[in-house]
Amino acid sequence: MTDIDYKSRGSILNPLRNLSFLTRKPVTLPLEPREASANYRGFHLNDWEKCIGCSTCQKICDNEAITMIHIPDLPEDPVKGVRARRPAIDYGRCCWCGLCVDICPTASLSLSREYVHTCEEHELDSYFILPDPHGMHKKFYGHGWHKTADEDLIDLERQAMPEQPAEQRLQSFGEFVQGYDMQQAIVEASRCVQCGMCHDSCPAHMNAPEYIRAIWEQDLEEAVRQIYRTNPFAHVCGRVCTRRCEAACSIGVRGEPVAIRWLKRYAMDSVGHERIREIAGEGRGDYLSGGKVAVIGAGPAGLTAAFDLARHGHSVTVYEAQPAAGGMMRYGIPAYRLPYARIDDDVDVIRAMGVDIQYNTHIGRDISMAQLQADNDAVLLAIGLWNGRSTRVPGSDHAQVRSAVELLREITLNESLPVPQSAVVIGGGNTAMDIARSMARLQLEQYGQANITLTALEDADHLLADPVEIRETDEEGITILPGRGPRRCMVDEQGRLVGLETVRVVSLHDEQGRFAPQYDDGDVQMHVADMVIEAIGQQADTSLLSVELTEALEWERGRIKTDAGGRSSVGWLWAAGDVVTGPDVIHAVADGHRVAASIEACLGQERYANG
């Protein structure tokens, strides 16, 4: 190859060659798009049926060419991970890099093979478009650049959580989920696109994108700081949260959602407890307000409210009937899912805020509600659902028909309970799975083998328990019989319980989706067992309220009527947690914040009024 002679100016006659163009026939092409190459990066297309409005495209665009537009007619549902927004493109800024396409979690965005757009000066706004599947000029030229497996920036598979096999974990009540190591946590955190759908769906609106980013940056103290912005039960929620965040995760549309719960657990397990206490105490008021608040119940709602109120300088005393704090988290969730030491860690952080907890204190028996009212500026009722519901089918009043919540409480208290050689559990929720698995462990310990059958009204696809817990229950050898309704507990002539009779459920809900089970009386089964355990529902024991207070309160279909801040019709009493919202830790945490804000506002007004 010869070198190019850069200094050569060519022939002096070269300009005359241009004269030859004068004789050529002019070529005029129509000013309309022509089909471009198959991989062309033309104007954007967006499939609105697939798009969830997550705004990931907007966040990745370095040119700030994308704006999320609110579309009033579209559905908006944070729980399902759907926003009523769609991306609009400013072609004055877009450089057609295609990153928005490559990152789109739902694969709704692509680029077309259309590439020509002109306009008059007064139509300059036409370069700002809201892409739809039809194309910029309502004419579809075919897909150009679109996401393929090679270009996809989304990692659809989550890091597997290491855990003990079933036969090993059944040997004890020890925690069998082992937690991520650093490498797994960083890889898992890198899957997050920071869309914030998790934040919207979380009842407590946890700052998950922020703590996931901090984990990815290996700044674990910052991750803990972000977690404590909204949740003082960080260890607990890192293990047993119901994970509304993951249900709404945009990555979950095509793949497995980011393991947000396990990342929270990783961050909390990676930072020393003393340092966590320091971080949680940052920003705490260094003054005493003079306000006094009594909280009844040391569960997640009561202690979250206590945490918030203590940070505001109020004197908070929590009254707990049990010998330890945690409520249903400790006395309703088995230790293999939530070790007591982790609950203790969370409670210790809360106590470090200055919260006083009085254990073994029964309000209504040891201290009256009237006394609490007289001694405090505000009283918060945050009791859990401690009473199990009974089917009340014939035979269910037999002594060997037990309540799941009672048995779980007895196991936590390490009370000696008669372990049946065989048992049938009625119920398809997490409590049913918990007692079935706990009983299986006790049976193995005592008899060397487990024999548990679980019957549920719901069919296999609609069991109420967490799918992970259903899988683990199945792995542990428990027979799950979905779609069966209890008919009667069988008792022999000697008065011994011998089993449960069930009938097949044909359908569970009516056309409006309301509970209306229909049975097939021709399909009846007998399940042999020497204990039947009912786990069908729970209710609060409100007997601690005096008759006078019960009459004074306004009720709403069996629950204490409260305003938006949780304040009851008697001004000094607030209510929060399971007794108001139903059983769920993260809902209880959110409720605790809500009620604490209401109490704080009320006490603040009183301080202002008193000068």
């Binding site: 929720g429 049913a432 209306a516 009720w555 709403e556």
Partner: protein
Amino acid sequence: MGSDTDTRSREGALHGKDLLASKKSLQDILLVATAFEKTARDFYTALIPRVSKQIRYLVEELAEEEQRHYDLFTELAKSPDINELVHAQVTVPVNDHHFSDYVHMPEIGDAPDDQAILQYALAREHAAMEQYRDLANNTESGPIHDLFEYLAIEETKHKRELEKIYYETVHSGGV
């Protein structure tokens, strides 16, 4: 149709089963049905102050529903169409499980909880539903058959609604 006083005196004199078995005319059947609804209304009304305020709404709703049923029968009694038919003879099935049993005051304790109240209400509605269904099946096509068919459908709807409330009340709170 007889007055409330008449109905009470009849109930006091006879067992419900005998009472029902002895009645053949439409008028008498409607009398028992009216008494059935009235007894329930009065029972629930008397129960309201005995239960905790927490579940009082439930008993109040049941009392209101039974009052509606009672009003329905009262209106039927005034209807000219029914007046033409009141002496028609209807074959009445004797059935221990039907609403003749429930004309009597039930035993559900001094302070029943929501589940016990709902179980009792469900049993009543089921009895009424079966009673009207049997009466409809025992009558030829025509206005009396249509009347019983209508009443059976009404009771069925109410029973189904109660079943939903029952399951939503009892099968809740589990995690």
